[in-house]
Structures are given as structure tokens and as C-alpha cells.
């Protein structure tokens, strides 16, 4: 007995010691939260310094950097530092500005875009060319390659690219398209030299060569990609000697790596990690409302939600504000009203008033009118990362309408399959793309998209179809296009297709010595361009 007691005492002391150790780890330096903005920091820190390697953590493993083959946003973030596109969005995404192209014009029928190219652009030296000058032929080659072979169709509707002169190309479209420039800003449409592509073949993805500020030094599979400064860069001379992108798939370990100094910067900070980074005196958390929205899709052609009254009832029965607060208790999202993020130029805040507020009484009444006074059973599909949203939404539907929504948690492959085939009665997912409304509204609401993930609820309204088509085919004038999109969104809101949930932040955590980094709403990482030139103050 005495021996047992001894053992117990020892056991409890071991536990106490380990808890103390944990407490010590958790309670590090508490500082007031900072709402930092890139520009302010730079002024505070004085003159930019040259040198140093910036280490950036990416949450997924980059497999290939080939512009036509890559599939993830994290891959495009590396590509951004290596290559350039003809045009680019400014950091605030308000307009498209020149990059490799200096100017452009659009034909009256909106089917031919003509670009003048810069004259002083050179490729990074590689195995199959020694850093030669970029020409119009390279633009033709790269864009046609993208148009024909891109896995994700990053350049749609291009018939051919014509070389007009050494410094001039024309892109011919098969139909008028006002959203072409937005597509051209995609990392998949950077200009690459043919020799390298053809020389490396399948290996080009790990030996990407472009015209950007940094070039590949080493590609360590599953571990990291090292870039070094390219002396041939046509833009401002980068302050950094190089960049290292490290792949860290576990979100908590990513934050730990940032705190321990393994990396200097992490993108896509979520949940409690926001609070941890905000509290750390050596770190900054920069946030901005992003281009990502979350919504609950309501099946339009099958099950009880076929009835518009049922959909309306569901929308009224979900307390979105409460849901967003509950899910994002550490911040990182706000209530979303429209199927378009605020950072898009097409966003029309006057439509917000037309979105009905939370009203469980009216919801119940509508559901009874639709013939379901006692609710019904249904299924709510989500991927694991959105289970919190689903749990709260299902609880609210149960409490307010007695709808039993069974949460079906599946992983991405299954989810996309079930949703695209229109087999999910209810589902919660997110959407994120270019700021041009075409990439949200056409994808999610045009009847031609039925059968793909965007329009997984099989929504079809000829009037909306027509408005969405006109918005890209009639004019390139943003104001006029915005008006057409507003009309479409008004109709979509009346038809009750979504319950809009959260508008997500882009949050980047970084060491305080990282200077002049500007967080972008599209969460892409630009380290050196006409607006920014990141440096390290250490």
C-alpha cells in the first residue's frame, strides 16, 4: 500500500511538472494587438536595407511550378516571384496596370486585344538559354500554351495569339470577353522561354524560368523552394538576396515555426493562431477583407428546397451574424451579404438592404405555408474544416424550423463530386477567385455551369444568364458592367440560391523586421513590383 502511495505521489509530481512546463510555453510576452499596415511600418523603420533571405511558410506542398500544370494558390505564390504576366492588379486590386505590357487597346467588337511590350525584359539564365531577351514570340508561345494546355483553363476563349511586330502582340478571342485582362493577371499566364519548357519537359515544373525578380536556386521536393535574386530583372532591384518558401502543412506548427524564427512570414493565418501571433511582441498580424466568401448552397431542383418558400424560410432561420461570431471567435471574418466579396469592384452595397435579416418567426410561418409545419429531414454536406459552420447552422435550423439537417463531413474529393453532381440538398462551401465579378457570378449562377462545383445547386434563370453574358460581351466599361452585375445579383437574391455566411479575411503574420510587405485581398504574394520592394530590418 505504501508503495502504491509513493507511486501515486510520484505520478502526480510528474504531471504537475509537465503542466508547469506547458504553462511556461503558453504564457509568453503579452503585447497589445496591432493593426499594422505595410506603409506605416516602412516609414517607422527608416531607409530600406539590402540583403537577407526572406523565409515564407506555405501551408501546402508545391508539386509543380509549371504555369500550365500547377493547381494550388500556394504554388502560384512562388510563381509570382519568378515570372511576370503582361498585366497585373495593383496591390489594392482597384485596377489593372502594366507589367510586361506597357499599354493595350481593345477592338470595337471586343474580340482582339493588342498589347505593346516592354523592350528591356530578359529571361533568367537557365540550362537551355543564357538569359536572352524576351520577345513577342515568347508571349505568343506562352499564352497559346496556356490557352491550349492549362490544366485549370487559366486562359479561356483564346483563339490565337498573333505577333504583330517584335514588341507587339494581339490576342484574338472566339467571343467578346471583358474579363480577359483579369485572366491575364493569373500566375498561370506568365511568360516563359520555349527552350526551357521543351528542354526540361516534365521537369520544367521544378526548373521554372521567367522574367521575375527571383530565380530558382534549389527545389527541395516536399520541403522547400529556394530562390535567389535575378540580376536580369527589369523592375526595381530587389532588396532581398533571396526567398525561401518552406512547406509546413500543420497550421499550429506553422505558427510555432514563425515564433521560433524558422520562418519570417506566414500567410493564411486562422483561428487561435491569430490571437497567438497578435500577442507575440516580435510579430505583426496584417489583415484585410479578402476575396473569399462562404455560403450555404440550397438545392434548386431536388428535395424540399426546390420550393422557394422553403429556401426563404431557411435563409430567415439562420442567424448569420451569430454563426460568424461563433465560428470565428478569434476574428477573421465578417457577415457577408452578397455572393461577391467586398474587395471586388462589382460589389454593390446598396443591395445589402434587400437581403432579409434573421427572422425565425417569419421563417416558421413560411415553412408551414410550404407544407412542412413540423420541419423535415435533410443532409448538409461540408468538408472537415467547415464543420463548425455546419454545426451552428444545423443547430439553428433545428431550433428555429425543426429541420433535422444531418451533417455529412466528407473530404474534398468526395465533396466536389457530390456537390457538382447536384446530389447535395444543402452544403456549405467557399469561393475565391479574381476580383472581376465574372469569376464569381458566372461560375456560380450561369445555367451553363450546372454540373460543376460552382453551380452545384443547379440554379437556372434565363434572365440572369443573359445579364451575366452581357456583362462580359457588351462592354469593357467597368461602370456599365457593374450595373449589369447588380441587376443579376438582385435577381439571384430574390430567387434565394444561397444563404451568404462569412466574408473571410486575408491574414498574414510576420516578424516585425519584415518591411514593406503589403497584404493583398487576393492573398497573392508579391515581394517586388512597382508598388513594393520587401526588405528586412535586421
Amino acid at each position: 500500500m505504501r508503495k502504491m502511495l509513493k507511486a501515486k505521489a510520484l505520478f502526480s509530481s510528474v504531471m504537475v511538472v509537465s503542466m508547469l512546463a506547458l504553462a511556461a510555453c503558453g504564457g509568453q510576452g503579452i503585447a497589445p494587438a496591432q493593426d499594422a499596415k505595410g506603409g506605416d511600418q516602412q516609414q517607422a523603420a527608416g531607409q530600406p536595407k539590402d540583403g537577407g533571405v526572406l523565409k515564407i511558410g506555405l501551408s501546402s506542398t508545391a508539386k509543380t511550378l509549371d504555369p500550365i500544370a500547377y493547381t494550388g494558390a500556394y504554388e502560384s505564390n512562388i510563381i509570382r516571384s519568378i515570372g511576370d504576366t503582361l498585366v497585373r492588379y495593383t496591390n489594392d486590386l482597384s485596377k489593372i496596370e502594366p507589367s510586361l505590357a506597357t499599354e493595350w487597346k481593345v477592338s470595337d467588337d471586343m474580340k482582339v486585344y493588342t498589347f505593346k511590350l516592354q523592350d528591356n525584359v530578359y529571361f533568367q539564365p537557365g540550362k537551355y538559354q543564357d538569359g536572352r531577351k524576351m520577345t513577342a514570340e515568347d508571349v505568343k508561345y506562352s499564352l497559346e500554351r496556356s490557352a491550349k494546355q492549362s490544366a485549370l483553363k487559366r486562359l479561356r476563349g483564346v483563339e490565337k495569339v498573333e505577333v504583330i511586330s517584335e514588341n507587339e502582340v494581339a490576342i484574338h478571342l472566339d467571343a467578346p470577353n471583358a474579363a480577359l485582362l483579369a485572366m491575364l493577371t493569373d500566375g498561370g499566364n506568365i511568360i516563359v522561354p520555349r527552350e526551357e519548357v521543351e528542354g526540361w519537359k516534365d521537369q520544367f515544373g521544378t526548373h521554372l524560368v521567367g522574367t521575375g525578380p527571383f530565380m530558382i536556386d534549389k527545389f527541395n521536393q516536399d520541403d522547400s523552394v529556394n530562390l535567389k535574386r535575378s540580376d536580369k530583372y527589369w523592375g526595381p532591384k530587389p532588396h532581398l538576396d533571396g526567398v525561401e518558401f518552406k512547406f509546413i502543412t500543420d497550421a499550429n506548427m506553422m505558427t510555432n515555426a514563425l515564433r521560433s524564427g524558422d520562418i519570417d512570414m506566414v500567410t493564411d493565418v486562422k483561428g487561435q493562431n491569430r490571437a497567438i501571433i497578435e500577442k507575440d511582441q516580435n510579430l505583426n498580424l496584417q489583415t484585410k477583407p479578402g476575396l473569399s466568401i462562404e455560403y450555404m448552397g440550397l438545392n434548386q431542383i431536388e428535395g424540399p428546397t426546390k420550393d422557394k418558400k422553403v429556401r426563404e424560410a431557411i435563409r430567415l432561420a439562420v442567424d448569420v451574424e451569430g454563426l460568424v461570431k461563433g465560428v470565428f471567435k478569434w476574428g477573421g471574418a465578417e457577415k457577408s451579404f452578397l455572393p461577391l466579396p467586398k474587395a471586388s469592384w462589382g460589389y454593390d452595397s446598396s443591395l445589402e438592404a434587400a437581403v432579409p435579416a434573421f427572422d425565425p418567426q417569419k421563417a416558421k410561418q413560411l415553412l408551414a405555408e410550404a407544407g412542412y409545419p413540423d420541419g423535415f429531414k435533410t443532409e448538409l454536406y461540408v468538408i472537415a474544416s467547415r464543420v463548425p459552420q455546419a454545426t451552428i447552422a444545423a443547430q439553428q435550423l433545428k431550433d428555429n424550423l425543426n429541420i433535422d439537417a444531418e451533417i455529412k463531413t466528407v473530404e474534398w474529393g468526395t465533396f466536389s463530386d457530390i456537390v457538382a453532381k447536384g446530389k447535395a440538398p444543402l452544403y456549405i462551401m467557399g469561393w475565391s477567385w479574381y476580383p472581376d465579378p465574372d469569376f464569381f457570378l458566372y461560375q456560380m449562377f450561369h445555367s451553363k455551369q450546372i454540373g460543376s462545383l460552382g453551380n452545384g445547386y443547379a440554379y437556372s434563370n434565363p434572365e440572369v444568364d443573359k445579364l451575366l453574358e452581357r456583362a462580359t460581351a457588351e462592354t469593357t466599361d467597368e461602370a456599365k458592367r457593374k450595373e449589369l452585375y447588380s441587376q443579376a445579383m438582385k435577381q439571384i437574391n430574390d430567387d434565394v440560391v444561397h444563404v451568404e455566411l462569412g466574408l473571410l479575411d486575408v491574414a498574414t503574420g510576420m516578424k516585425k523586421y519584415v518591411q514593406d510587405y503589403q497584404v493583398r485581398a487576393d492573398s497573392s504574394i508579391f515581394l517586388v513590383n512597382s508598388e513594393t520592394n520587401v526588405w528586412l530590418n535586421k
Binding site: L10, G26, Q28, T71, K153, G205, D222, D223, S260, D262
Partner: protein, 319 residues
């Protein structure tokens, strides 16, 4: 002996055939279309259909199976859908990393686990015995992912001594790899270490009470020789069995450890492949691990005969 080893190797073939078939079926049974996953949320049905064709997914399942077995016979594990590279070369790039991590963890667990078990057994019911037993109980029940995060919080974030993630590279010097290796090795070694300590203890306790140990002591042999030479050798047999099992499960533990510590090994490769429905990589890697598993078991069987000459390898592979 050599003949028997070959016989055992030959016996591998049906085992691997069953593994290959099972893996093939399971990876196809999971719902979810690799083409859709590969193309991402914005793909249209046409594009998905085209991609399915490119990947050969529109062929009937039995044809895919025949293809798969056919290439397998030629040692070809297929080409990854995501990486667009031969699976064998993907595995071979990462296997040394997993091997390095597992070997370090194994060495650590043996070097600490066995002596701890011996001390525990020779000093039964002492303070040291209790300490080892309690720590080993904590050890076997500690989830790797939790321990991993705790180690990083303390040694990387709080003390700043060791890097949190990654593998380092030899180009930054040997020390870079060593420092990166420490935390994941500790995390991966905890469970086997604790298991070795417990097994060594119980096995030693049994042996120590036997007559020949008493005889050895009565001969006036020093306690050190009695324990390490006479007792331990006979206590080794159960330890070997457990060791074989632990090495195999270490490959499973490596999947977790590698994910937590961003260690670029096979574990991460397979987790990533499962998420992306890259079933060519999944089936290739699982097959590869199965081969290793079986080979380790064979090795353990051979080691039995070395440790205990009374054990003979038999034709039936009973070991």
C-alpha cells in the same frame, strides 16, 4: 539457411498480390474523382471529363486493374497524377529521409528503453523502477501529434534551441540536419521506447529468477556480467518480437511525425496523395511499405536464430 530465406522471399509474392489488390480496390472505392480534385473548384464538367480521359479513369475498372498488375510485374508503380512523375522515383527521393528519421528514433528508443527496463527489473519496486514504469506508461499513451507540438513549443518557441520544422540540408552543414532531426526523433521514439522499457523489464524479471542466474551469481560473477551477458541474452527473444512490430508501426508513426514536423519523407507523400486522390501514389507507397514490413519480419525471424540457437527457421516459415 540461405535457401530458406529465398523460400521466404518467394512467399512474399502472394502476400503482396493480396496487398496490391486490396489497395487497388480501396483506393477506387473511396468516393471522389481524382480529376475533379486535380482541376479544383472552378473546373467545368467538360474539363473534368477530358482530364478523366487523360488519366485513363474512364476505362472499366477491370482494365485498370489489369494494367496496374501488368506494370507492377515490370516493377513499374505507375505515374503520379499530381506530380506527373514516376511513383518509384517519388518514393526513392523520400525513402532515405524516412529511413533516417526512423533509424534515429529506433536507436534512441533502444538506447534508452532497454537500459531503463533493465534497471527497472534489477531494482524492482525501487524509486527507479516506479519512475521508469510511470514514465513508460505516460510514453505509450502519449499521442505523437500532441507530444510533437509540445516539444516544439518548449524547445523551439520558448527556448529557441532547435528548429521547429523541416529537415535542413546538408549544404548548410551536417549540424543543420542533426538539429532538425532531434525533435521529430524524440516524438517518434517515445512509444517504442516506452514499450521496450516495459517489455525488457517483464522479460528480465522472468529470467533473473531462474536457476542459471543464481548459479552465475553463486560462481561469483560480477553483477554486471550476470545481468548484461547471461540474463539479457535470454530476455532478448520477446524483445525482438516487439522490436519487429515496433519498427513496422514506426513507419505508421512516421506518417504523423512527418506531417507535424514537415519532414519530407514518405509519410507526407502518402498523406498528401490521399488528400489529393492521387491513388497511384497511394497504392505505390502502401505496397512499398508492405514490402518493407514483410522484410523486417523476415529479418526478425532470422535474428531469432542468432539470439537463440534453439530456434530454427523452418520451411513453413514458423520461425
Amino acid at each position: 539457411m540461405l535457401k530458406l530465406i529465398f523460400k521466404r522471399l518467394f512467399d512474399l509474392i502472394p502476400t503482396l498480390f493480396v496487398v496490391a489488390t486490396t489497395v487497388f480496390i480501396i483506393t477506387r472505392l473511396i468516393p471522389g474523382d481524382p480529376a475533379a480534385v486535380l482541376l479544383g473548384p472552378q473546373a467545368s464538367p467538360d474539363e473534368i471529363a477530358k482530364m478523366r480521359e487523360t488519366l485513363g479513369l474512364n476505362q472499366p475498372l477491370y482494365l485498370q486493374y489489369v494494367d496496374f498488375l501488368g506494370s507492377l510485374l515490370q516493377g513499374d508503380l505507375g505515374t503520379s497524377l499530381g506530380y506527373n512523375q514516376p511513383v518509384m522515383s517519388l518514393i526513392m527521393e523520400r525513402f532515405p529521409n524516412t529511413l533516417l528519421l526512423s533509424a534515429c528514433a529506433l536507436a534512441l528508443s533502444l538506447l534508452i528503453g532497454i537500459p531503463a527496463g533493465i534497471i527497472s527489473a534489477t531494482k524492482q519496486y525501487s524509486f527507479w523502477d516506479y519512475t521508469v514504469m510511470i514514465l513508460s506508461l505516460v510514453g505509450v499513451s502519449m499521442p505523437i501529434f500532441w507530444l510533437g507540438v509540445m516539444l516544439v513549443l518548449y524547445f523551439s518557441v520558448h527556448l529557441g534551441w532547435l528548429p521547429a520544422t523541416g529537415m535542413g540540408s546538408l549544404s548548410e552543414g551536417f549540424g543543420s540536419v542533426v538539429t532538425h532531426l532531434i525533435l521529430p526523433s524524440i516524438a517518434l521514439s517515445t512509444i517504442p521506447m516506452a514499450t521496450f522499457a516495459r517489455i525488457t523489464r517483464s522479460s528480465m524479471l522472468e529470467v533473473i529468477r531462474q536457476d542459471y542466474i543464481k548459479t552465475a551469481r553463486a560462481k561469483g560473477l560480477r553483477e554486471f556480467f550476470v545481468v548484461w551477458k547471461h540474463a539479457l541474452k535470454n530476455a532478448m527473444t520477446p524483445l525482438l518480437t516487439v522490436m519487429g512490430m515496433q519498427i513496422s508501426s514506426m513507419l505508421g508513426g512516421a506518417v504523423l511525425t512527418e506531417t507535424i514536423f514537415s519532414w519530407p519523407g514518405m509519410g507526407r507523400l502518402v498523406v498528401d496523395a490521399i488528400e489529393n486522390r492521387d491513388f497511384v501514389v497511394v497504392q505505390g507507397t502502401v505496397l512499398f511499405i508492405a514490402v518493407i514490413f514483410v522484410l523486417i519480419n523476415l529479418l526478425v525471424d532470422i535474428l531469432y536464430t542468432v539470439v537463440n540457437p534453439r530456434v530454427k527457421l523452418t520451411n513453413k516459415g514458423e520461425g
